[in-house]
Symmetry: C2
Subunit: 190 residues, 2 copies
């Protein structure tokens, strides 16, 4: 997706060979117009996939997920990292290690919002080692629902997540595939 790659080139900051900072438009400050274009693009790519629900993880996945849900006309669930007083019932949960935060945490979804009939599109801001996506897949499996595809805003193709999801047979659509961050430069696949 050219508009996204352009934004990454202009406003992305390479912090190291592993870490790309996109706080100017995705992870902290958000560009709503770009999010709408991203949502439209995911909706177009998964238009024929029979999606009934979108699942993401708080917080940075919410903006692209909500715009995709708006276009596809389906609800969005964001997995919670911390239990609140209003999430009282039994929860579907899985553990996830965050590469950027370097902590293990538990993500959870209420079973009230996912059923066996659901065909779920997972949306997330980044795909690196794939731990967040795998946790969401586990939760969707626990609900007996089906993972219909995975939509990623920025894929770090030099880490193992994409390869593992491909090997498991999931359809992954990444809007920007970063081949390398070496030398402080962002280079894309294709």
């Amino acid at each position: 997706m050219e508009a996204l790659k352009q934004k990454i080139r202009e406003d992305g900051i390479v912090l190291s060979d592993q870490v790309l900072k996109v706080d100017a438009f995705l992870n902290h400050q958000i560009d709503p117009q770009l999010m709408q274009q991203i949502g439209d693009e995911f909706a177009a790519r998964f238009a024929e996939a029979g999606i009934s629900k979108i699942v993401t993880i708080e917080a940075s996945g919410i903006a692209p997920a909500i715009m995709t849900g708006l276009k596809l006309g389906v609800p969005v669930i964001f997995a919670r990292k911390h239990q609140s007083l209003t999430l009282t019932e039994h929860l579907l949960s899985a553990s996830v290690y965050s590469f950027t935060k370097q902590v293990e945490s538990t993500v959870a979804i209420s079973p009230r919002h996912l059923s066996r009939d659901d065909r779920v599109l997972i949306i997330d801001d980044f795909l690196a080692n794939g731990k967040a996506a795998q946790a969401l897949i586990s939760i969707i499996d626990q609900a007996g629902a089906q993972v219909a595809g995975i939509g990623i805003v920025i894929e770090k193709s030099f880490q193992s997540g994409r390869q593992e999801l491909d090997a498991q047979g999931y359809r992954v659509e990444s809007l920007a595939r970063v081949k390398s961050l070496a030398g402080g430069q962002v280079s894309f696949l294709d």
Copy 2:
């Protein structure tokens, strides 16, 4: 806002005299169409306020904030509750006590995204005792920017937050004002 009140009546769950659970469409599962209506409504109410930026707190504020930002054509910043590896610089921060989670936490915004010229609209999902709004006001003050108004999806009018913000002279627009949750029933002001 009638569509919102209707949704609260239909899908809200009164957990106690103090706690209203809206996990079906706002806090966990999100209804993107309703969020768009909410964003349009905030945008209409603050159309003449010269807003240059929207500020909210992760995670439940993001969906209504992004839809408001889309309509007003301005960027959205979500304050972070936890510092990540990619937020490395000096941060503007304030402490906030969460009524629903019963924990004190720190919320932070990078000063790179707020300037003295900004007229800021604060958007949040709930207004109860006003601690989250006060923390955002403190951060915006630290940046030297101006708070142009506060947009709240659901106000618990029986708690003190609204009254305190009114007394401080802020313009607060709440789309649903809950007078009472007594007897397991949601009753609205006006």
